[in-house]
């Protein structure tokens, strides 16, 4: 990922993130958050995490934000636009943010291992192919590595379904419980 593209998306992401909280209109806030998440997905793709970048757009910018917009539509939030932020709250919030960013910059300034750039750590498909030679797997991962491309989805799926299969099932149960819980919470009480 070239530096110019990185800075373009990173700065746009931060500007849109700030716009989420500056906007008085909740719909405009939600749309700014969508833009911020799309820029974040671009950063993920710049980090060679193609699958994560795409589900960031599909799940966050797509599904979750549509849910937000539906709820904003259901609730009548006219009063919200007129509400003023109290100055003391504003000062407190800004102080927390400034202290956090200041601490972060001082820590990162002295963090030597973090100076490494992306081109100093290139993805090496030849090494990967060699280290996987003992696995003797048929299929598309070896073929893609031989072509010199990164089979991102296959590698992530392999890790997810072989090493983390119990966790995956627990997350599945969590989603089921959440679905049932949402139905119970949002149904009308029949008295």
């Amino acid at each position: 990922m070239p530096s110019a593209l990185f800075y373009f998306f990173a700065i746009l992401m931060v500007i849109l993130a700030v716009a989420v909280f500056i906007n008085r209109n909740p719909v405009a806030s939600a749309m700014c958050l969508v833009g911020s998440f799309i820029c974040l997905a671009a950063l993920f793709i710049g980090l060679d995490a193609y699958f994560i970048g795409i589900i960031q757009i599909l799940v966050y910018a797509g599904a979750i934000m549509v849910l937000f917009l539906f709820i904003i539509m259901l609730l009548d939030l006219k009063a919200e636009e007129k509400r003023q932020i109290r100055p003391l709250t504003f000062l407190g919030g800004m102080a927390v943010v400034i202290v956090l960013v200041f601490q972060l910059s001082t820590v990162l300034y002295s963090f030597e291992p973090g100076r490494v750039t992306l081109d100093q750590r290139p993805i090496d498909t030849a090494v990967a192919l060699e280290s996987r030679a003992s696995l003797d797997e048929p299929g598309s991962i070896a073929a893609a590595l031989e072509r010199g491309t990164l089979p991102d989805v296959h590698l992530l799926g392999e890790r997810l379904f072989l090493d983390y299969k119990a966790h995956l099932q627990i997350v599945g149960v969590l989603l089921l419980v959440a679905t049932v819980g949402v139905v119970v919470l949002s149904r009308k009480r029949l008295s």
């Binding site: 989420v20 699958f51 927390v96 498909t125």
Partner: protein, 105 residues
Amino acid sequence: MPSLNEFLFFSGLLFAIGLGGVLLRRSLIVMFMGLEMMLAAANLTLVAFSRFNLQNGLPDYDGQVLVFMVITVAAAEVAVGLAIIVALFRTRGIAHVDELTSMRN
């Protein structure tokens, strides 16, 4: 080429903005957006470390599996949270944390 520190800095900045937003705005919906932003910022840290911590020439996919789990849990969390907001609005007409005083006294 951007360095690991730059990714970590922007991730931290996004987290700080999300945290500041949760503290500043008192609307339940906008506070929820701040929570989502903080989760997404943590994901950027995980993906950056996974990319820079190469294992046999490939990114460390353990980090990306964790990001996958975080996105799943965030989706479930948003669904439940918004259902609670809808239930609150329906029973009390509240969409604002300052009005949530029913547990006082």
